[in-house]
């Protein structure tokens, strides 16, 4: 992240914003929050990239309006335009192999663009489905550019933001204790993201680590340390922004729930980056699985249909996580894990029955085995998250050569 959340500048900026947004009311509050967000985007990205980001939001808004005006228009006419623009702005590694360098947008800063992209897709799909409720230009812009969640989420839903902004839903209880909890959460998040994560990063796998030169034990330690580093860094950040959001009256959704004690890989993704998992479930997995199940060819093979939808979802997840090829492998590995788990679960449920399976899974031994397998599998998959493409390809060629 290019703005340190621990810096005096960020802290004074966010506390000023909290005060302004909580004390003001009506249209003035909306304009002030927009100014706050625009200032933040300019500060974070610089003027040119900030303008590109705002243009991206405005294009999204125009497409949303088109869908609201012509409800019968299908997403196939609008979504590809938006996805193509995202791929171009995000400057995916693969574009270097297709286009000459002068055509690429490599000078733009794209911090936060992936999160913004998924937020706008959600608004677009909901508008087309007639489930958006009410679209307001300034509310939409502030939803998109909301400084608390702009850099790294959590991915909030427009309806949830709308309800909290307009006071239909409270971010937190209006009590002294709830506000104290929010402040403590910010402080706890800082300790996680800046003290503990910084310390454990010294032990963790780095992007240019030559994995094959490590002893087995050193490899395990570095892999586990990277998992905890990522957790502490990201969940610490989330604690800080949820704390600030709570004080401001717009609380982002929860994102982490002890992923290291997940009992299976499906449970892992409901505990790790949960707002992303729920987004992917709603906008990739569900439509893909529904279409497959409704089709003549796959309708009679629900397990296969489910596995195909899972694979597609995790490939999208992988590509979304980063622009280089290693993230595609990250998604593929998690896709394979989920397919194995889903098929195994289906097999056991057919053999034992759901009730018996549930009883067995509650046994301490089954839970322990589940946690150990999931923890190791998730740690291993982070190898593909952390190693850069060059070192990952080196690893593959060394493995194949030996």
């Amino acid at each position: 992240m290019s703005i340190a959340l621990l810096s005096i500048k960020y802290l004074s900026f966010s506390m000023m914003s909290v005060l302004l947004v909580s004390l003001l009311a009506g249209a003035f509050r909306q304009f002030v929050f927009l100014s706050v967000n625009l200032f933040f985007i300019g500060w974070l990205l610089g003027p040119i990239s900030a303008l590109a980001t705002i243009a991206f939001c405005l294009l999204g808004f125009a497409l949303v309006r088109i869908h609201l005006k012509w409800p019968a228009l299908r997403l196939v006419y609008t979504l590809p335009v938006f996805v193509a623009l995202f791929i171009y702005l995000r400057n995916y590694e693969i574009l270097q192999w297709i286009f000459p360098p002068e055509l690429l947008s490599s000078t733009l800063s794209t911090i936060g663009l992936s999160f913004l992209f998924f937020k706008i897709i959600h608004v677009l799909v909901d508008a087309q489905s007639n489930t958006l409720r009410k679209l307001e230009f300034l509310t939409y812009l502030n939803y998109c550019l909301n400084f608390t969640t702009f850099m790294m989420g959590p991915i909030m839903r427009y309806q949830d933001y709308f309800d909290q902004w307009h006071g239909h839903k409270q971010a937190i209880e209006p009590t002294y204790e709830a506000h104290l909890d929010a402040v403590l959460r910010i402080l706890g998040g800082m300790v996680k993201a800046y003290v503990l994560a910084g310390w454990i990063n010294g032990l963790a796998l780095q992007a240019d680590t030559n994995v094959l030169q490590l002893s087995f034990t050193a490899w395990l330690v570095q892999m586990y340390a990277f998992f905890f580093y990522l957790y502490l860094n990201f969940s610490g950040y989330v604690d800080i922004v949820i704390g600030i959001g709570s004080l401001m009256g717009i609380r982002p959704p929860e994102n982490f729930n002890k992923p290291f004690i997940a009992q299976n890989i499906s449970d892992f993704w409901l505990r790790q980056h949960r707002s992303l998992t729920l987004w992917l479930t709603d906008y990739v997995f569900s439509p893909a699985y529904k279409r497959a199940l409704s089709s003549k060819r796959l309708g009679s093979h629900p397990v296969l249909a489910g596995n195909l939808a899972i694979m597609l979802t995790m490939i999208v997840s992988g590509i979304w996580h980063g622009t280089s090829i290693n993230f595609l492998f990250f998604g593929l590995v998690h896709g394979i894990y989920l397919v194995i788990y889903h098929s195994w679960d289906h097999f056991l449920a057919r053999r034992l029955g759901r009730k018996r399976l549930k009883q067995l899974r509650q046994h301490w031994l089954a839970r322990t085995v589940g946690i150990v397998i999931t923890f190791n599998a998730a740690s291993f998959a982070f190898l593909f998250f952390q190693l850069d493409t060059a070192h990952l390809l080196q690893l593959f060629s060394d493995l194949l050569g030996s």
Binding site: D126, A127, Q128, S129, N130, T281, D282, Y283, S286
Partner: protein, 82 residues
């Protein structure tokens, strides 16, 4: 089609999809109330409902925003051609 018929048919679909003859549903029933109601069975449920009620199709936004069984019944009543 009246609401009671929708509830009765829906109850049958739930029992069939979750393989549990004892399942009871009401307007406030949510995914957390039924052990096996996850993202996979949710879609199996919705596809089974679409097959059982002529004219009913859940679009992506509806699937994403359905909060409880009461809302499912509302969509079925709105869209059913029976």
């Amino acid at each position: 089609m009246n609401e009671e018929t929708v509830w009765n048919r829906l109850r049958e679909i739930f029992r069939d999809v979750f393989g549990d003859e004892d399942i009871e549903i009401g307007p406030d029933t949510v995914a957390d109330d039924i052990l096996e109601w996850d993202s996979l069975t949710n879609i199996q449920l919705l596809v089974a409902i679409e097959k059982a009620f002529k004219g009913v199709k859940f679009n992506t936004g509806e699937v994403a925003n359905l909060k409880n069984v009461g809302e499912m019944v509302r969509v079925v009543l709105d869209k059913s051609a029976d």
